[in-house]
Structures are given as C-alpha cells and as structure tokens.
Symmetry: C2
DNA sequence: GTGAAAGCGCTAACAG
DNA sequence: CTGTTAGCGCTTTCAC
C-alpha cells in the first residue's frame, strides 16, 4: 500500500509518457493514441492514482465544491432540503461543504467568511434573517467574485439573487379559506419570525383569507411565534384558555404543529373533534402515530434539487439573462380531518 | 467590488513588502515588524483578500477538510450525529465535506473513491455494512495514505480503525432485565440488521437478559427487522396477533419504535396499559406528543463530537500508540412508564 | 498525437 | 526581521 499518494509524474514515468499525456487521458480532453491511453490507465491502476483536486483547482481556478449553509440541521425540514441537495449534487459530480449557522447571524457571518477561502463554485443558503445587511453584503460579494448564490426557502432584502421558494401565501390562504368554508369563524394563527419570508408570507395568507371572507382580524388570535415548539406550546395554552377561544388554529411550521399538539394533549383536546388544527409542512412521524393533521404541504427535497439546478444553470452559461430568478414551487393542501370540529359545523 | 479574488502578490505590492511577509502575517508564523504587519493588514482589508485554500493545501500538502459519510441524512439519529460533528469541527476550524450513501454499498464505494481526490485530513464514517470487503479495503487505503479514519456507531470487520460506539448491549440488557423484574416473561424484540454492530449488539443484550433470568428464547418473539418503520409495523401486527402474544416488545431503534406505535394505534393498544414498549434512542417528538416511551438513551451529538476528537488526536501526535481505539460511550435507561402492563404485574 | 514549459497562489527553507 | 526562490501537482498553450 502506497505510503504516499502518487502524482502525475510517477504515472508518466510508469507509463513512459509525458505528464501532459497523463493529464489528457485523465480529463478525456484531446484524443490520445489507444496505445498510450492504455499504458496510462494501467499505470493509474497499478499505482492507485487519483488526481489531486487542490492542484487541479489551483491550475484551472475552478472548483467542484458548493457551499451549503443551513440554520438547523436537526429540523427535519432542513434534513430533507439537504437530502435533495446532496442527491442533485451527486448526480452532477459536485461535492458539498456543509455549514451550520444554528440560527445565529454571528455564526453565519463567520461561516460566510470562511467559505471565501475555498473558492467554491456556488453557494446555497437559507439565511438566518432577511434584514441582515452584513450577510447581504457578503452574499453580494460572492456574486461579484463570480460565485453564484442561491437562496433557499428564506430570502433577503434584494432581488439580485436566484432563489427557490414555495407558494406559502397561497397555500395558507387556501387552507384558511377551507377552514372558513366548513364553518370556522374563530381562527387563530401562531406565526413564525416576521423577518423571514416563510414567517410573513404565511401570516399574509392567513390575513388575506380572513379579509376575503369578511372576517375581521383579532389581535388576540394572532400570536407571534418563532417556529419553535416551546413558544407554540405556550401560545396554544393561552389561546385555548381565552374567554372566547378559537375553534381552529393554524400552525405556521412543523415545530409549531408539535407545540400545538403538545398543548392539546395536556388540555385533553382532540383535533378534529374539540378543536381544529391546520399545519404547514407535512410530518411523516405524525402519520405513523395516526395523527390526521391536515397540512399545507410541499415537496421539500425538490426544493433542494431545484436550488442545485439553478446553480448549475449559472455555471455553463455565461449569459445570465435571468439572474435573480425567483423559482416558486407549489404548495398543496392535504386534508386529513383535523380541520373539522363537529360543534362548529353544526352551528353553521 | 473586486471582479477577481486578489492574490498574495497584489497584497505584497499594495503593502510594499514581499509575499513572504504577507504569508507570515496571514499565518502568524514568524514575527513581523509592527509597521509591516499593519501595512499588510491594511492592504488585506482594502483589497478584501482571503488566502486561496487550494494553493495552501497544495503548498503544504495538508488539508483542513474532513469527509463525513452518513447513510441516511433524514434519520434524526444521523442528523444529531451530524450536529455534533459540525459543532466540533467548527470549534477546531475544520470544514466538512458531506457525503450520503443512502444505505447503499455501491454508493458508499463511489463516495469513498471520490473522496480520494480531496486529500482530506480525516474521515468519519458510519459504514453501510460491517462485512463489505470493498469498503474495508478502501478505508485501509486511507489509513495507509496517512488519512485517519474514525468509524461512528457502526463498525467493520477490523480492529485497525478508531471508532466510537455506545454500550448498546449493556443498555438493552438492563432494559430487558427491568422488563423481567417488573413481571414480564413474554418479551419480544424487533431487531436491526445483523450485519451491523447496533443490530447484533442490541439483540445480544436481549438474549443475555433472558438467559440470565432463566427465560428461554422463543423464535416467534425474535423478529428480524431492518431499522425501518414499515418492517417494524408488520412485525408488531404479527406479534400482537400471535396465539400467545408477548406482553412487551423491545424496539431496537427509533424507527422501529415508530413502527410499533403505528401498529399499536391501529390495534387500539395503549402502551403502559395493554402492552409494554421499550425503545432504543430517545425521540423528542414523542415526548411532545405525550407518549411516555421508556428507552435506552445515549448522547448522540456527543458521539459525533467524540469522533472529531479522536480524529484530532491523530493529527498532531505522530505517535499513535493506540490506533484502533474503541471509545465506548455509555447508554442510560430512561423510564417513563411504557414498560408497565398492569395485568402482567398483577399476575406476578 | 505528444512533449516542454509556463503558470495557478501559496509556503518554507535559505540567505541576508 | 525580510526578501528570494524553489517547489506543491496539475492544466494548458505552443511547438513539433
């Protein structure tokens, strides 16, 4: 077993050709005579040679690595995103540098800085906040250096970047409209951070649905959440203990849904019976447990794949007619019964 | 905004020093006069300079990237592992190349090959199978090239590698012993793949507990699972429909626990009431939903951190007195009530 | 179709 | 303390 990686010179020597020829067969570039091709290939196999990527990067000033920046690896939503990204990257022969920000802007800045030195060929990021001017500037800097950036799920205050999002507003609008259609009038929402697209867009869908149906917004029914379980749990308890409690709650993300369910469990409320629940993003685990929660759903891995595809498109074509492309993937309602409350329906 | 990354020559020119001096201040190596240090730093800031990592790697033939190979990014167990790894890597200033194998040996081989070209400084891998001679050979090859490998959670048929595992056998032994202590005699297990440490070690703990207490193993109570929900679900249904069904089921991993719960739900069985359930690996989601499942638990992020630490130790010290270190982290029983079945207790 | 040679951007002796 | 220089391993003209 070789104690040291072989380099192109050793292969050339072993094959009795020049390093240029070795390089050519490794890269399938110019045609090389059949005889020499075989000799090189044999030498490569014999010496177990693999080209040094760093050298190649340096020489060509290109890269095959993309940086992926994600706020919370443990949230299944981001795992699924990551899955889609890795799958697509894999097909394209690209490697992934993974960075976690843990929802901290400070970490995000550091990460973005450290990414600079890798001369990545592209960046996919779900930024912590839409209003972080520091992050914004760093991202612009990457673009200025010719490194394409794709925003995933969350956006920033700029149209300069390609991004892939989903029709959250529409999805929530349809969901809440459905709640109204079947009789709900007292519908609460536990929102996400207002500083991010998912947060405010979902809230907007909720507001539009109520307005469109002539239902006035009630301040006590709009609870500012943070997409975390604990906060959603606390809000749900408060909502249910209101003198005039809502008959339905819209949970703005997967963790919020868990928070609601936790509170319902403690209060002895059954979804689809005592109270209605509508979630955002489907949760496999709940189905296994026979919780029939209706949700606004979307193909999360597809979002990741689409982000990779967007990046890809920026590589080959130097003409970037549509830099700043906003790809919007659809959302879909999945009705499972949790939207119902027999009492409410009867009252209609 | 610079259309092109600045290099060390531009900095040297701007600062009026040689590239060596620039290199020195960038690396805090030799001391540089205060005056020149300032001039360099100013130039760096002015030109927004970040050293090219590829060039540095090539020049020093070192690397600051470690490869992480994981079978299923979507399984929360691996997300948590990844979280621990990224956190530790971050502290150490290392970057992570993420690779997913999707539990496919074929993919694993490809990934391992593609990793070669990156001249990584270390590898952390949860291999698909313990008996894959191809993977084994590739891993040996990395070690031979001086690239340390750490196995995480799963092992391979070799003691040549550092690895971090947990006391699964002991944990399961204690869990099943506890089941017996409180009155259970008919205890089933849904196992994992026999080809991996977690699979067979957990089974072994189960067998030992029964034997130690003079309870003979029943073939119909030992169900070969695959750590997936569907399979566990099917097994649970069959177990519960046995003429002489078990009073307790041990679920060998998180997904298996879900499979059991799914089946229980359909059969109308309540854990801790009609049937006992003991799981392996804690599941936050279940607690939120008020499922009190007793489990054999372990600190999963700590496993990832420990893997990084093991790698780290191999970097600095060329003396590797203990290559092949097997770090075994503890498991712990968390009792929540699902182990009980009033009827069984009464029968004692 | 093939080889010689000039970089890619950086580090690390080696002189001074 | 500082500058010069020789690589690190590869790609890529440019001649032949």
């Amino acid at each position: 077993m070789s104690r040291q990686e072989a380099n192109i010179y050793e292969i050339a020597k072993e094959a009795g050709v020049s390093i240029a020829t070795v390089s050519r067969v490794m890269n399938h570039s110019t045609t090389v005579s059949e005889k020499n091709t075989k000799r090189v290939l044999d030498a490569v196999k014999k010496l177990n040679y693999v080209p040094n990527n760093a050298a190649r990067c340096l020489s060509t000033s290109t890269s095959t690595s993309i940086g992926v920046v994600i706020p919370d690896i443990n949230n299944p939503f981001f795992s699924q995103l990551l899955q889609g990204i890795t799958r697509a990257a894999d097909e394209m022969g690209l490697n992934i540098f993974l960075f976690g920000t843990n929802e901290s802007s400070e970490r995000e800045h550091k990460v973005l800085d450290s990414m600079r030195e890798h001369r990545l060929c592209g960046i996919i990021i779900t930024p912590v906040s839409a209003q972080d001017s520091d992050t914004l500037q760093k991202l612009h800097n990457f673009e200025a250096l010719g490194i394409p950036v794709v925003l995933l799920d969350r956006e920033v205050d700029s149209n300069a970047f390609d991004r892939v999002v989903t029709a959250d507003e529409e999805g929530v609008f349809l969901a809440v409209s459905e709640l109204i259609r079947i009789g709900h009038r007292k519908i609460a929402i536990i929102t996400g951070p207002e500083a991010s697209r998912p947060g405010y867009e979902r809230l907007r869908g909720y507001c539009r649905a109520l307005k469109d149906h002539g239902i006035s917004l009630r301040e006590d029914y709009i609870r500012k959440g943070d997409f975390m379980v604990d906060c959603a749990y606390a809000h749900t308890l408060e909502l249910c203990r209101l003198p005039d409690p809502p008959t339905a709650i819209f949970a703005s993300n997967n963790m919020t849904t868990y928070g609601c369910l936790k509170a319902f469990g403690e209060l002895g409320l059954r979804i689809g019976e005592d109270i209605a629940l509508f979630g955002f993003d489907d949760i496999d685990e709940l189905r296994w447990l026979n919780y029939n929660v209706s949700v606004v759903s979307r193909d999360v891995p597809a979002m990741g794949e689409q982000a990779m595809r967007l990046l890809m498109r920026r590589f080959d074509s130097e003409d970037r007619p549509e830099q700043g492309t906003r790809t919007c993937l659809p959302t879909e309602l999945i009705m499972r019964g949790s939207e119902r409350v027999p009492g409410v329906l009867a009252e209609r």
